[in-house]
Amino acid sequence: MEKILIAISFGLLLLIIYLIFRAVTLILSVNRRASDTDSGNRINAILMIIFLTGGMGLIFWYSNKASAHFLPESASVHGVWIDELFETTLLITGIVFVITQTLLFYFSYRYQHKPGRKALFYPHNNKLEITWTVVPAIVFIALFVAGLDAWSKITSKAPDDAVVIEIVGQQFSWIVRYPGEDGTLGAYDYRLTDGVNSFGMDFTDRASFDDFTPPQLHIPKGKPVLLKIRAKDVMHSVYLPHFRLKMDAVPGMPTMFHFVARFTTQEMRDKLGDQEFNFELACAELCGRAHFAMRLMVVVEEEEDFYAWYKAQKPWLSENPEYLSKVPGTLKEWAGIKTEHVNF
């Protein structure tokens, strides 16, 4: 019953709109004068100017207001380059945007049809056309060169002394693995993955005995960090907004990204005046129903704090001793030393 009433009232609403339209059309057609078309033209021309000034005003006013919510100063070294490029591009395109939009609306207003106006027959001008081909081309090439410089530096080979961390995306969380005392991540094979051994760690490789897997991503400040990125099921994307860092995690194709953090978590908290602040890692590649909830906490520490934390971590194998049975006989003793006796 309720639905029928809603449908009827909706139909009545449409009917009323239709009747108003008919009435207005009839009244207008009775009152029509010769200049009616021109008044429509004038109103539209004036609206062009109102839209231009109103729109520009709104953009500048709100940009200023919204900037309070923009991401804070980049917490990574390469992010500063990216932000500089962004600002340069914003300046150039901002100027072009304002000029071209102004011309578009101003011309529309200025050259509106009026009785007696005749348009200028002006089909082309080679000089003008060459100018506005070449000038943008030069600007774009300059932007390209600047971008290429940053891109090459960002994507160059990681320094040898970088802290290596493996990060793996899975539905719907991130897991991280550190190489432990030996500084080498143990081998993995996706076929060895199971409910407990999320990384598919291969325990025939002795480098995996001391690998540890903390619940948060810890990184040192001021030291290169190399993220080795994998995905277990579908594609994910490592996204560290405060570090201007993003790289897809692809099943079957390990990727990587290296960067240097500029601020510790505490320094960032002090800068922002927000003691609750934490760096976060998000997923930026659609991966399923909880894509929006793949959050990993990131902790940036001073180098000595980081190493203190690093040394305090227990190897994964010592937390999951049942996997010691996967270790081949010749390495069992070594594994035992690594997992039970050594708290470095």
């Binding site: 839209f51 923009f70 050259y111 049809h113 106006r117 348009a119 996204y239 993003k246 079957g252 399923g288």
Partner: protein, 634 residues
């Protein structure tokens, strides 16, 4: 005799014009082979899809704008997809996916190209119909089949495809990963296969018609820019859609026949999958080889339509006709060299990234040339604000607004941060969503009188324009700010992250703006369908335009022109020519008839007696040819 069938299709309507060309209801309105009816079928189907795609966006805007609201009132519509007052996250993803698929493919490709290529190509080049009317009909009905399948997929239990409109594997392969990758994805792939076949048949027809069926005197350099644009669009579609088909075919194999083109090293739902050696990047390369040209497939027809409408209503020749063609050619060519700028952070080689960054910057050059040429066309014009003209100006405005942000995302370094954030959403919704959509509306308003022999209501057109123009900006411009705050796209909710917890008021504002903007489209729908039957009767040439379609009868029959086809003597942009009595000289007026306005080189050509300039002999010769189809057939 081998040529006879072609001539028949060309001449038969003309011979039979007085007799029985109407046909019965089915051949006239349903299985029609007439290009004008097929264009209208595409137009109406495109409008239906635009409504569907728009409604879906309203649903997910509800979620984004008002994440805490109780959605139980949607239960009658969405059923079990509403659980304890919340929209299911997988439904959200399905809505986003279907919105993208429908808008990009069914509205801005089939709706836009299908309508205007079919309608304008024969009428503006002076042809009786498309090269193959049957194939043209087949093209529409394949599109219709694709539409039915895609529409049906929204109502199945596991939901439609939900992996985003790009349907990246492995997500789109594994039903364990998302329920939309079950039957919904299968239907998506079947639908898209029909769609691609439809696009190819249409494209082959458009290209053949433009090359072969231009009327006497209509050289390539006298073609209106609409035809150039639609011609380039068809070529681009023909080159790139088969690659999407290849991508889809391999996806079908991976999904249904156990191959590993895109799959490798997968552990999902507690199970190790046997697939090794495949590469998800292969799919991305294949997809974006179509996917990027696709945005130009959407925007090129809008370029053409807007150029034509701006020149007509500014009563000025389009500035830089050759530069306009040249820039479209360069865009067409370069558009197949930029695809991997969608993949800067996909793990692809950074060296490749730098090459694609260069190509992406270069393709911005012809795009900016077009903007400057439009501005120069407006300069010192005599601008008549018809609704079509308003939408054309709006399209240029959107193209600038969305175009400048292209320079951010073309830069692979900046793209590291902006990739898959709302900045991208803002960028492409303005430049390849709203701009072609406004091109579509421009064409709709401009050629409505030719399509239906009646005028649309002007005042409602104005109202529709201003509400939509302001509304679109209010929806998409603020998304730049969300992007600069780092918000990732395709997020069901932003509450899980401290970093993205701001801007809740802005998100609500965007949603309200979207509802209002969608509501404004009802004005258009009313105007469109009301005017179709009850609008003021259209005069012969309502916009005082130069192109050939306005020389055809107000309601052109099958075959378009009774009697002989018009002959073309001049380019389509002789507006406000100095000395001329009127401010326009249609393409079929010979120079010999306009001594008062001829330019020096035209006077010289007349003195040399070139028939295509003088007109008289040329026309006689033409009519002699045309009137005796029996002679031609021999």
């Amino acid at each position: 005799m081998a040529v006879q069938p072609i001539h028949q299709s060309q001449e038969e309507p003309f011979v039979a014009h007085e007799e029985h060309h109407e046909g019965n209801f089915i051949t006239k309105y349903i299985f029609s082979q007439d290009h004008k009816m097929i264009a209208k079928q595409y137009l109406v189907t495109g409008i239906m899809w635009a409504i569907a795609g728009g409604l879906l966006s309203l649903l997910f805007r509800l979620q984004l704008g008002f994440p805490n609201a109780n959605m139980d009132w949607l239960k009658p519509l969405l059923g079990d997809w509403i659980q304890s007052g919340k929209i299911d996250p997988e439904l959200y993803l399905a809505l986003v996916t279907m919105h993208g698929t429908k808008m990009v493919f069914f509205v801005l490709t089939a709706g836009l190209s299908g309508t205007f290529s079919n309608f304008l190509i024969p009428l503006q080049i002076g042809a009786r119909d498309m090269a193959s009317g049957f194939m043209n009909m087949l093209s529409y009905w394949l599109f219709f089949t694709a539409s039915v399948i895609m529409f049906y997929s929204m109502f199945i239990e596991t939901g439609p495809a939900g992996g985003g409109w790009t349907v990246y594997p492995p997500l789109s392969v594994l039903p364990q990963a998302i329920s939309g990758s079950g039957l919904g994805m299968t239907l998506w792939l079947i639908s898209m296969s029909f769609f691609i076949a439809s696009t190819l048949m249409g494209g082959i027809n458009y290209i053949t018609t433009v090359i072969n069926l231009r009327t006497k005197g209509m050289s390539f350099w006298k073609l209106p820019l609409t035809i150039w644009a639609l011609f380039f669009t068809a070529i681009l579609g023909l080159l790139t859609f088969p690659v999407l088909f290849a991508a889809a075919l391999l996806l079908i194999f991976d999904r249904s026949f156990g191959t590993s083109f895109y799959l490798s090293d997968i552990y999902i739902a507690g199970e190790v999958l046997p697939n090794v050696g495949g590469s998800p990047l292969l799919y991305q390369h294949l997809f974006w080889f179509l996917g990027h040209p696709e945005v130009y497939i959407a925007i090129l027809p809008a370029f053409g339509i807007v150029s034509e409408v701006i020149a007509t209503n500014a009563r000025k020749p389009i500035f830089g006709y050759l530069a306009m063609i040249g820039s479209m050619f360069v865009i067409t060519f370069l558009s197949v060299t930029v695809w991997a700028h969608h993949m800067f952070v996909s793990g692809m080689s950074p060296f490749l990234g730098s090459l694609f960054m260069l190509a992406s910057f270069i393709i911005a050059v012809p795009s900016s040339v077009k903007v400057f040429n439009w501005l120069a066309t407006l300069w010192r014009g005599d601008i008549h604000f018809t609704p079509a003209m308003l939408f054309a100006i709006g399209m240029v405005s959107f193209f600038i607004a969305g175009g400048v942000t292209g320079l951010f995302v073309a830069n692979s370094a900046i793209d590291i941060q902006l990739h898959d954030t709302y900045f991208i959403v803002a960028h492409f919704h303005l430049v390849m969503g709203s701009a072609p959509f406004f091109g579509f509306l421009t064409g709709g308003y401009h050629w409505f009188p030719k399509m239906f022999g009646r005028m649309m209501h002007k005042g409602l057109g104005y109202l529709h324009f201003w509400l939509t123009f302001a509304g679109v900006y209010l929806v998409f411009f603020p998304m730049h700010y969300l992007g600069m705050a780092g918000f990732p796209r395709r997020y069901y909710s932003f509450t899980g992250f401290d970093a993205f917890s701001s801007f809740t008021d802005l998100n609500a504002f965007i949603s309200i703006a979207a509802f209002v903007t969608f509501g404004a489209q009802l004005i258009f729908l009313f105007n469109f369908f009301y005017s179709m039957f009850r609008g003021r009767r259209a005069p012969q040439n309502p916009w005082r335009s130069n192109t050939l379609e306005w020389t055809a009868p107000i309601n052109p029959g099958h075959g378009n022109w009774p009697g002989s086809l018009p002959v073309v003597y001049r380019w389509p942009y002789d507006y406000s020519k100095p000395g001329a009595q009127e401010d326009f000289i249609p393409q079929n007026v010979p120079f010999a008839q306009t001594p008062e306005s001829n330019l020096p080189e035209e006077v010289k050509a007349i003195s040399e007696g070139l028939p295509e300039v003088v007109g008289k002999d040329f026309q006689d010769k033409m009519e002699g040819d045309d009137i005796s189809p029996e002679n031609l057939a021999q």
